[in-house]
């Protein structure tokens, strides 16, 4: 399988109108480019901040962390638990 799952949490889910999409990715690419790919999917997706915090496989990732087939990338608004 060559898909990456992109998840949208809380306000980001409301923003894009879905909680999950799958993107075909043939080779690993940096988070920064992956986010650009997601934002290019259409008007709703372009509302996501270009510098949104993302977690790759449940770990906060920097812009140059690599994302590849089978990974789960979550878009996380600033948290407000407690």
């Amino acid at each position: 399988m060559s898909a990456v799952r992109a998840l949208f949490l809380a306000r980001y889910r409301d923003l894009v109108g879905t909680d999950e999409v799958e993107l075909r990715v043939d080779a690993p690419l940096p988070v920064r480019e992956f986010v650009a790919l997601v934002r290019a999917r259409g008007e709703a997706f372009s509302r996501l901040p270009a510098a949104a915090t993302v977690a790759v496989n449940h770990e906060v990732a920097g812009p140059y962390t690599f994302v590849g087939p089978g990974d789960e990338v979550a878009f996380l608004p600033p948290v407000s638990g407690g």
């Binding site: 949490l9 809380a10 306000r11 770990e59 979550a74 600033p78 948290v79 407000s80 638990g81 407690g82």
Partner: protein
């Protein structure tokens, strides 16, 4: 065929960590800590306030990115245990719909002296609010509802 002694599993239980839709019972959280060597027990409860940023709040809803929230909360509790030198920490966060006055988060810590218990519970709460992927969606008296992002104070 196991070559591990049968007692292996009970060597160290670690902190008690939970994220759940069930209402939180403070006395259950309190009962997870305490030891004859401890002279101090601290329990912190976060409760749903009827106001936020000048607006009247009717209730709220908590959502988590669950697998990551559980992982980060456990890591955090383990960091606090390492600092404390014991595993006598319990933390639970509520999810789902809550009314004003309900408990959203409970932290219990016990330790030989009170200063460590205060410092540990306070730091745990601060880091929980900074690191654990959980979001609050507030319902206002006006009928409006909104995601809260970050912690103004």
């Amino acid at each position: 065929m196991s070559i591990l002694p049968e007692t292996e599993a009970s060597v160290s239980a670690g902190p008690w960590v939970a994220i759940s839709e069930e209402p939180i019972d403070p006395s259950v959280v309190l009962a997870r800590v305490g030891d004859p060597a401890d002279g101090a027990v601290l329990l912190f409860l976060g409760t749903v306030r009827n106001h936020a940023e000048g607006q009247h709040v009717d209730g709220l809803h908590y959502e988590a990115y669950l697998p990551m929230a559980e992982k980060v909360l456990r890591q955090l509790a383990e960091e606090m245990c390492a600092r404390l030198g014991t595993d006598r920490i319990a933390v639970v966060h509520r999810l789902g719909t809550l009314e004003v006055g309900e408990v959203s988060v409970a932290v219990a810590v016990s330790s030989p002296h009170r200063t460590e218990a205060f410092a540990t519970a306070s730091t745990l709460m601060e880091e929980l609010k900074r690191r654990v992927p959980i979001w609050k969606h507030e319902r206002y008296e006006s009928g409006r509802a909104a995601w809260v992002e970050g912690h103004p104070r």
